[in-house]
């Protein structure tokens, strides 16, 4: 189901881009009204390319620079691994809400927003439409094949021309060995023109191009503009075919040729169905006019048009350059336009997810490595691997300590609708952080940010507001020590001390917490990284004062569902009871089990789990 949604969102993306190109082609086609139709026929290649290729090369000359300034080039395939694993191995300190991925109904499961429900519905409707059209056309193909089964050779020496009384219009049929089929009793006056026309179709592989184009149309059936494009493309194909016949046989045959067209005119076939290539196909009036007016263009005119067409093709097929080259706007390190442009309802949209990750800042000395997408089962996840190439990254202002990764993860939760879990992993050539990793779950982030972060991705203003908020929460504290745990401890300690400074006259811990929202948010945002310090302070014993009460509130907030029901009297006793509880379940089960089920609670045993 998920891969279906991935495919569908890619198709919708391609359809959107192709629509811009199609409008351009239709416009230029109008300008080329008097030119030979072969040029407008060629132009459709650009639309075809856009409808079938999700990516492209970038160029300054791309017309899409005008309409889509923030399109991304496609992800490099080697940066991506789709994992089909049922579970991601969460790091020991991972925070996985155990209700995720359970047997809850789809809508109730977290991370499924109305938008992705819509996507799911849309992709199903799309698939059904594709199936119906495909089956319809396969059936009509066999119907024609059955009709012409008994067609007989027109002349025993021409092995590719058949006639039959089962059809009413001449056409080319067959993929591997195309043959010309004529209705019985075509008069000898029309016959040479009909054969010449159909032969040109065969020479130019039109009998393959048309079904291929129709197949692409079926995939994009929901886009009415593409139906128009297909109709126009077939028109151009037929007209340039007529022109080729005139060019081969000379201007003198124009009148006879036009008369033959008229004599063999047929009714338009069903709109929903690809028709085989027919000599006297529809829009006879236009074709006859075109034949009459056709003049072989002068050499230099033809050359000039070819050059212009080639330039136009490059313009249509290239992707716009993005990023610094076009002065991509960044907001405190974030390429906000690019972030918004690549907002996606679905984790499986690999190119967008990668573009999002790469539009976010990284500390010096850290590079992004492989990105893995978990799309086959809930919880839908993104795992980002980073490589640390020099030690300064770890201690830098905005390095691991500065929580830039947490900020980026929260932004990803805002911009990728149905992602439920984000894992960050490090490979460290300096050795200090080798194998270091952590996970964030959406429910946890929603606790930290006090609400659904997806609301921040509506527009640029909202997004900037969120970046500001993240920056204040994760304000850097200027560490110089390389030890993570110590740094986390310092950070919690600083915040805690600050919270305790005011209002001095109150004894209600909540007054203190409310007076320092930024510090509280910082500690909550640190999530389980704040626990080792808080637990170690409790472990010293005697935490029965203001500090104890604040610590109990913070611990229990962070522990969330892992907490126990307990009404404490002096704060220290809550800690003791909790430790006892964790100890008991550890004895009963095993440490591994507890690590799995109480990834935060297990931190009470001290030891640097990271």
């Amino acid at each position: 189901m998920n891969s279906l949604m991935t495919v569908f969102s890619t198709v919708v993306d391609m359809s959107m881009t192709a629509s811009y190109v199609a409008l351009g082609v239709i416009l230029i086609r109008l300008l080329l009204k008097r030119a030979p139709k072969v040029f407008s026929y060629l132009l459709w290649l650009a639309v075809f390319f856009r409808l079938t290729c999700p990516g492209s090369f970038t160029s300054v000359f791309s017309f899409l620079n005008v309409v889509k300034p923030a399109m991304q080039p496609d992800a490099l395939p080697e940066t991506l691994v789709m994992t089909g694993l049922e579970n991601i191995n969460y790091a020991i300190n991972g925070t996985v809400n155990s209700s995720v991925g359970s047997t809850l109904p789809l809508v109730a499961a977290m991370g499924v927003s109305p938008l992705s429900m819509l996507m799911l519905l849309g992709s199903m409707v799309w698939m059904a439409g594709v199936m119906v059209l495909l089956i319809w056309n396969i059936l009509s193909y066999f119907k024609i094949a059955g009709k012409i089964k008994t067609a007989t050779l027109l002349d025993a020496s021409l092995s590719h021309i058949y006639e039959t009384d089962q059809i009413s219009t001449p056409f080319v049929f067959g993929f591997r060995r195309p043959r010309i089929y004529l209705p019985a009793g075509i008069s000898s006056r029309e016959l040479p023109y009909v054969l010449a026309h159909e032969t040109v179709h065969i020479q130019r592989s039109d009998y393959l191009i048309k079904p291929a184009a129709f197949l692409v149309l079926i995939i994009h059936w929901f886009n009415p503009l593409m139906w128009l494009c297909f109709t126009l493309m077939v028109k151009d194909m037929e007209m340039s075919c007529d022109e080729t016949v005139i060019r081969n046989k000379g201007q003198g045959i124009k009148a006879d040729y036009a008369n033959s067209l008229l004599a063999l005119a047929v009714q338009k076939n069903s709109f929903w169905q690809a028709t085989p290539l027919a000599f006297g196909e529809n829009n006879i009036k236009e074709r006859i006019k075109n034949v009459i007016h056709y003049r072989k263009p002068r050499f230099w005119v033809g050359t000039a048009i070819i050059i212009v067409i080639a330039a136009l093709m490059i313009g249509f097929i290239a992707n716009p350059i993005n990023g610094a080259a076009t002065g991509q706007k960044t907001y405190s390190g974030y390429a906000v336009d690019k972030l918004l442009a690549n907002k996606t309802p679905y984790v499986g949209n690999a190119s967008k997810v990668i573009a999002l990750i790469d539009a976010m800042p990284l500390p010096e000395g850290v590079v992004r490595d492989k990105v893995e997408l978990q799309t086959s089962a809930e919880p839908y996840g993104i795992t980002i691997n980073y490589r640390i190439n020099n030690a300064s990254a770890i201690t830098a202002e905005d390095g691991i300590i500065g929580n830039v990764f947490d900020r980026n993860a929260i932004l990803l939760f805002a911009l990728v609708d149905n992602v439920q879990i984000i894992n960050i992993r490090f490979a460290d050539s300096t050795g200090q952080l080798e194998g270091y990793s952590w996970s964030k779950s959406r429910s946890r982030i929603e606790q930290v940010m006090q609400g659904d972060v997806r609301l921040y991705s509506d527009n640029i203003g909202k997004l900037k507001e969120m970046i500001d908020r993240l920056n204040s929460v994760y304000a850097s504290y200027g560490y110089t020590d390389g030890n993570i745990v110590a740094n986390n401890a310092d950070q919690v300690k600083n915040c805690l001390e600050k919270i305790m400074t005011s209002p001095m006259d109150s004894s209600n811990p909540y007054d203190y917490l409310n007076a320092h929202p930024t510090e509280v948010e910082t500690i909550i945002a640190m999530d389980e990284k704040a626990l080792p310090y808080l637990f170690s302070e409790f472990a010293k014993g005697g935490q029965t004062g203001l500090k104890g009460s604040l610590m109990e509130i913070l611990c229990r907030k962070i522990l969330g569902s892992e907490d126990i029901k307990y009404a404490s009297t002096n704060h220290q006793d809550w800690y003791d009871a909790y430790k006892k509880h964790i100890q008991e379940i550890t004895d009963k089960n095993s440490l591994v089990w507890v690590q799995d089920h109480y990834p935060k609670g297990v931190l009470i045993f001290g030891g640097e789990q990271n």
Partner: protein, 119 residues
């Protein structure tokens, strides 16, 4: 009588049988491929259908015709007159002879045919 209605392709096929009968069915398939461009399977399908309609007969891989060329022609021309000239032979003749002159010999033959038909 209706089963004498032959499609274009069937008529050509049966024509081969009239020309070559009695003909071995393998030989017939070869001839159909050569003259009509038919696959063997098509030949056998059409042959089977015509046998079912009692136009051809296939006994021990030897094909013969049960209906003669003249009968089919008679049926064809009758249904042509039925369909296009309200079954009226004079109307047909008028249309056929429009701006066409007959030789004395042809006129003589026609007279004879008409006299025979009256009796």
């Amino acid at each position: 009588m209706e089963n004498y209605k032959l499609f274009d392709a069937e008529y050509r096929f049966v024509s081969i049988v009239w020309e070559k009968e009695p003909v071995n069915s393998t030989e017939l398939a070869r001839l159909s491929l050569e003259r009509l461009g038919w696959k063997k399977s098509t030949t056998y399908t059409v042959l089977r259908k015509l046998c079912e309609r009692g136009i051809l007969d296939n006994a021990d891989a030897v094909v013969t015709s049960l209906v003669k060329k003249e009968e089919v022609q008679k049926y064809e021309s009758q249904s042509l007159i039925e369909k296009n000239f309200d079954g009226s032979l004079p109307q047909f003749l008028t249309a056929f002879l429009d701006r066409k002159t007959l030789t004395a010999k042809e006129a003589e033959e026609l007279k004879r045919i008409i006299e025979e038909a009256i009796q």
